[in-house]
Symmetry: C2
Subunit: 294 residues, 2 copies
């Protein structure tokens, strides 16, 4: 009995989802079917691919080696289908306007390099919650959001009603900035306590950077509603307060000297690709997933 692609597809899903149960959901199969396929594959190869633990399936060394092959084979099978069948794969990708102009081109470039046959239609949105609702409802195949932590919503926003699968595809560094003449500019080793009473420019309550600022700085500073990233940057340049902003949004201002970084490190956010785990067989979506992987 030879190895078959559907077995590798199942195997890869189990590795990615880490449990038979979650992989079964993603594959629209019963857990017993997934378990049976993994067992059949192990018999076929004559090796154990997973260590069964109470928390789920952990790949063995052989499993790790097979994973490389499995992804390659599945990827090439899709490429073969695309070339032979000539069917374009199209994915609607939602992204906040903030990152639509910055990180999305990078993701698309990587995708174009690895999957020339896949068309991605970028759908800018203004609300993370709306984007995730669209993914859950099937109006988007995937979306890019900013988040942190091990679970979706780790940054503090509510988790979407539909359970979505996600993958961190990039880090989004943050910088705490102020006008060059600000009293804290130039001081070393700042802590959140140093910012108690400072004016902190923020976006609306659900804005990722505001949520990040809440986590990093706590309740000490005074929140000053400012609007989108460009507005916050501009107000910070004019000395109206400090702001926690994505590094890409302030790099040039800092280089030109109109802004100064404060010496208080903030953990980077994650650029997170989210999609419905039970719709991975949508043409092209898996391509996006493969392309997004490091």
């Amino acid at each position: 009995m030879a190895v078959e692609l559907h077995q590798l597809r199942t195997f890869e899903a189990v590795v990615r989802h880490r449990t038979v149960t979650d992989a079964a959901v993603a594959l629209d199969r019963a857990p017993s079917s997934v378990s049976a396929q993994i067992r059949a594959l192990e018999r076929s190869l004559g090796v154990s691919l997973f260590e069964r633990t109470p928390a789920g399936m952990r790949p063995t060394g052989a499993g790790e080696r097979l994973l490389v092959w499995a992804r390659r084979l599945l990827d090439q099978a899709e490429q073969a289908r695309a070339e032979v069948a000539g069917r374009p794969r199209q994915v609607r990708l939602g992204a906040l306007e903030t990152i639509a102009a910055t990180y999305v081109p990078r993701v698309l470039a990587r995708l174009a390099e690895r999957r020339p046959g896949v068309e991605v239609e970028v759908r800018p949105g203004v609300s993370r919650d709306d984007l995730m609702a669209d993914v859950g409802a099937g109006r988007l195949e995937a979306a890019l959001v900013l988040d942190t932590g091990d679970a979706l919503g780790g940054l503090g926003f509510p988790a979407p009603p539909e359970p979505l699968t996600f993958l961190d595809v990039d880090a989004v560094p943050l910088a705490l900035v102020a006008a060059p003449g600000h009293p804290l500019a130039g001081r070393d080793g700042l802590t959140p306590a140093d910012l108690a009473g400072e004016r902190l420019l923020v976006g609306d309550p659900n804005c990722s950077f505001r949520l990040a600022a809440d986590r990093v700085l706590g309740p000490g500073p005074e929140r000053v509603p400012a609007g989108a990233v460009p507005v916050m940057r501009s107000w910070a340049e004019h000395g109206l307060g400090v702001a926690l902003l994505p590094e890409f949004g302030v790099t040039s201002a800092c280089e030109s000297g109109t802004l100064a970084r404060l010496d208080l490190p903030a953990p980077a956010l994650s650029l997170r690709l989210v999609w419905r785990g039970d719709r991975e067989d949508v043409p092209g979506l898996r391509d996006v997933l493969y392309a997004a992987c490091a």
Copy 2:
């Protein structure tokens, strides 16, 4: 319904064997199963892969494109299995002593380059018919023989009792040689008629080079039994007659001037890999087949 490797295996066999019927034999399946799998694959991809002709199956453009992918996927699937399962594949390869020292190292080098995990045990033999009988009986997975033409036995030897599949992997140039002082040495544009009455050194009646000489020169020359290639070369050097020998066996003698090539071209023989078409799933044999392909 996604593409599966067993479908690609069937597809590749049909391309290689050119008919559903022969592919079915090779795969140990009924022709109707093969036909059904090809149809299912075509439905899955939404394209026609073959043009059905009375003489067999002819790949379409899409079929040609898929073939490249199919071979790649099947090859990588085997490599994946070899790496993950750690099971060495071993093939017993028969070869006449004549070519065991000359062409076989080249084939093995190519194999080592393309299939590091495959072990080939070379079994030298003295009789082509015995080698093919061993392949037919399963004592050898494959053998290298010298032949010509479109069918096995085209050189003139009897076809083996078991129908064997074959693949030409290299050309084996021939040279008609004589001692440097031979009257025909140096004359241009020789024809077989010029050799009427000449002494022609030959091996035993089933020797490939004798069969080749019979085809090239006809009955005109007088056959002088001489023995194996080295013996024929030596006698030719001593002016005891002309001989039709493999180029590799006379290159150095010609270069050192102890032999002269006569200006009568002889078509090259083919180094032909033979195996049982119904045992291609033997571990490692397909690797040898892929490696042998140009």
